[in-house]
């Protein structure tokens, strides 16, 4: 009798273990078996929104399920992040963002969440931070700017959005120069003031820089870790690369994340599938037309790079203050 009970008990334990062990594999194997909610924490029409919509155009072919895009802007993209954390950790709620919410959270005294409260699925792209100056000025080259800024400490005015300002502040710190940092709410406002001569230097993404160089502006520095492609670098007049100059700067990736408790198998599968989506010819064609570069960093590398970025942002925010 005792043996029967023991056998029955062991059988139940075995069944539970057997059911539990392949569970995550089974979950990952079936994943996704329903539409995936894709949180865009910015308004419709922006860069992140465009990325999400282009990804959704190929999701049915690759993922086998559609992406339900939800624009949840607000609180510097933190509202969408909070929403993602309130959903089950099953990989069916995905959050796509840029460094904006990380910077916002690092600037807050009492942030509603920590930048670490996410599991990074992958990076899909990144934008470089190009420092622009008007042509024909003493600061129209990086060496000229350093010389001018050292001779006139705190006089040179540099305008950019908070993301770009944070990144470039690190480059200025590394170069040992002091400039006046002027925050703008959008890159276009900063560039307009640069063209009007109201500020002396500005930072912009490479796509904006490409429209202005060489007629209206000179690209004097690539202020990110990532080098420019050979073609873009040539079109921008081969600006020096901050990393090559030995400066400590950060990257600005477009990252995709999920709830921090999501099983690793699901995250890895999502990462693989997104990588596959990025290889689709229709997606590549549209992104090429939009001037967006596809830079895929899978889950296994992206998490470490993200942690590094969070650290860099903390230092940049300290430099801004």
């Amino acid at each position: 009798m005792k043996m029967t009970w023991l056998k029955a008990f062991l059988a139940v334990v075995f069944l539970i273990c057997a059911a539990a062990t392949p569970a995550s594999d089974a979950v990952a194997g079936d994943f996704p078996d329903k539409p995936v909610t894709w949180i865009v924490p910015f308004k419709a029409g922006g860069g992140t929104d465009r990325w999400a919509r282009v990804l959704s155009s190929v999701s049915l072919d690759v993922l086998g399920q559609p992406l339900r895009i939800r624009n949840l802007p607000g609180s510097s993209a933190v509202r969408g992040w909070k929403y993602m954390l309130e959903q089950p950790a099953d990989g069916y709620t995905v959050y796509q963002a840029s460094p904006t919410p990380v910077i916002a959270l690092k600037r807050e005294k009492n942030p509603p969440l920590k930048p670490e409260q996410v599991k990074i699925v992958c990076f899909v792209s990144a934008f470089r931070n190009i420092v622009l100056a008007p042509p024909g000025k003493p600061w129209s080259t990086w060496e000229g700017l350093i010389k001018y800024a050292k001779a006139n400490p705190g006089k040179l005015t540099f305008g950019a959005t908070f993301s770009e300002l944070s990144g470039t502040a690190l480059a200025f710190n590394s170069a040992g120069v002091k400039v006046k940092l002027v925050p703008y709410s959008s890159t276009s406002d900063a560039v307009t003031d640069l063209l009007g001569g109201h500020i002396q230097v500005a930072a912009a993404t490479e796509s904006t820089a490409l429209t202005l160089v060489p007629d209206k502006a000179v690209a004097i520095l690539n202020g990110t870790k990532m080098p420019l492609s050979e073609k873009v670098s040539k079109e921008l007049g081969n600006p020096p690369h901050a990393t090559a100059l030995g400066y400590k700067v950060i990257n600005f990736p477009r990252w995709i994340g999920v709830h921090p408790d999501t099983p690793d198998e699901i995250v890895a599968k999502l990462s693989d599938k997104i990588g596959e989506m990025l290889k689709q010819p229709s997606l590549k064609k549209i992104m090429g037309k939009m001037g967006e570069e596809i830079i895929f960093v899978p889950h296994k590398d992206a998490q470490a790079q993200y942690d590094d970025i969070v650290k860099g942002v903390s230092e940049a925010v300290a430099a801004l203050n």
Partner: protein, 515 residues
């Protein structure tokens, strides 16, 4: 200099069946989206953008510009019909539009909005085509200090919107100023005045606030005076008959009577559209304020077509000039310009300073579609105006619950945020208190809109100027001229008030003598 070969190519692109059909689709969808409070022109354009990925240039531009133009007119439909601005740009239209609607002149109000919008839009498009590069250079002269003075001039002009009691107007403006500071400090990027609520860190969004102040406040006000049930039954019986009646239209004479207000709207709107960051809502309010200021005897604000003409011309005249920075420098001047820029990039015509040289046919096609879009909007707009004008005949006891539901749904769909519904209800109560105490809402709305922009610019200007106030604020002849104009408007406004008071006292003395 007109490039005739490129112009011919552009005409070929535009006058194709596909382009014209997509333009009509865009306008029809746009009017529907704009009439729904909370959904904005830029949202409509953004959501339809993926459709354009595979379209040829003409069809893509036709759809996007149609959507934009339709949504702007759609915004005025709900502003006039339900006292609920469908888009923030239409908020200034509520003041006179809804009063006309309730007076049974809905069709007249809607047609005034349509005709004045199209006239100002067309004129601003032509102006942009003729002198876009020159306008772009003028726009660049306005740096942070100059932009600050433009806001100051706008704020001093709202003296004319402060009603009969200056103190109440000032209170309203001060309240708007305070709520405008809620959110993230534009320079330090640190939350302030948020009462510890993280969801207020982006500040109070404009659409839910407007819907609360204009629509929900009216619903609350009506709830304080519930109609008699018998009267409701009686009115219900008459509803079917009323809906069959033709609402009073707009005569050519009445329309031409508004020439002054449309001209003001065109001038103010074109100027505002050129400056980055201000936008169509500021254009509408500023034009409305200037029109009231210019013709105090016309009674703008008490249900006059001139008020609608000024507001609608002011917001639509920003459309063409908004595209100037995009076409001249590749820098979008507004959210919608950014989306149109995105569509141009997808079509291989990246906006840049060399755009006039590299893609002249694209620029001509864009402007021809803007003009053709106006004409198509006129045709479709008339049909919608006729249909919506019937709403004025609907008894209040049926209309008010509909407005209440639209206000709740509209404030939620804006960003799918339940907190926005809460904010809308709070602002509904604020608006109710304002109504009961006869405090004008316009100064609050305009300072709420302009004060954060003014703060951002003055603080940026001071950063650039090294903290020297005089050197910063008087940095250029433009700044000095705008400062003088601001001061002049305060002095002029005060003098007008004194003369009005003297005239009222004389009139009352004469009345006493006659008695």
């Amino acid at each position: 200099m007109i490039d005739y070969a490129a112009l011919g190519q552009a005409i070929d692109i535009v006058f194709q069946l596909n382009t014209l059909l997509w333009l009509l689709v865009g306008i029809s969808v746009g009017i529907g989206v704009g009439a729904m409070p909370g959904l904005q022109a830029s949202t409509a354009v953004a959501l339809m953008l993926p459709l354009t990925f595979t379209m040829p240039l003409g069809s893509a531009l036709g759809l996007l510009i149609g959507l934009y133009k339709g949504a702007i007119f759609g915004g005025s439909i709900s502003a006039i019909s339900f006292s609920t601005p469908g888009t923030p740009e239409a908020a200034a239209t509520v003041f006179d539009g809804y009063k006309l609607m309730r007076a049974g002149k809905g069709r007249k109000a809607l047609l005034t909005a349509l005709y004045s919008s199209i006239t100002a839009d067309l004129a601003s498009d032509v102006l942009t085509i003729m002198i876009a590069p020159m306008l772009a250079i003028v726009a660049l002269k306005f740096g942070p200090a100059e932009r600050f003075w433009v806001m100051m001039l706008a704020i001093t002009l709202i003296g004319s919107l402060s009603g009969d009691h200056l103190a109440k107007g000032l209170f309203s403006a001060a309240f708007g100023l305070f709520i405008g500071t809620i959110g993230t400090d534009p320079i330090g990027a640190i939350s302030r005045n948020t009462f510890g609520l993280w969801w207020l860190s982006d500040g109070i969004p404009f659409p839910p606030m407007l819907i609360g102040v204009f629509a929900m406040a009216m619903v609350f006000n009506e709830l304080l005076n519930p109609p008699m049930i018998d009267a409701a039954k009686d009115q219900a019986r008459k509803l079917a008959e009323n809906l069959l009646k033709k609402s009073e239209g707009l005569s050519a004479r009445e329309f031409f009577r508004c020439w002054k207000e449309i001209s003001i709207g065109f001038g103010v709107g074109s100027f505002v559209g050129l400056l980055p960051g201000l936008g169509a809502t500021a254009g509408a309010f500023l034009s409305y304020a200037v029109a009231r200021y210019a013709s105090p005897s016309k009674g703008i604000g008490s249900g006059k077509i001139e008020g609608i003409a000024a507001a609608e011309a002011g917001n639509n005249a920003t459309v063409g000039p908004t595209l100037v920075p995009l076409l001249a420098f590749g820098i979008p001047g507004s959210a919608t310009a950014a989306l149109i820029g995105g569509a141009l990039v997808l079509q291989g015509a990246t906006p840049s300073p060399r755009m006039f040289e590299l893609f002249p046919h694209v620029i001509y096609a864009l402007f021809i579609i803007l003009i053709v879009g106006n004409i198509a909007n006129l045709g479709l707009g008339r049909i919608f105006a006729f249909a919506y004008a019937k709403i004025g005949e609907v008894p209040k006891q049926y209309l008010i619950p509909v407005i209440g539901i639209m206000a709740i749904v509209g404030s939620y769909v804006y960003e799918e945020n339940p907190y926005h519904v809460l904010l809308m209800l709070i602002f509904g109560l604020v608006g109710l208190v304002f109504r009961l105490c006869k405090i004008p809402e316009a100064p609050m709305v305009i300072t709420f809109l302009l004060a954060p922009l003014a703060e951002e610019n003055i603080r940026r200007a001071l950063l650039i100027g090294g903290g020297d106030w005089v050197a910063t604020l008087m940095n250029s002849p433009i700044s000095i001229a705008l400062a003088v104009l601001s001061l002049g408007s305060i002095v002029f406004s005060a003098r007008v008030r004194v003369y009005q008071r003297i005239a009222e006292m004389r009139a009352s003395e004469l009345g006493d003598l006659r008695e």
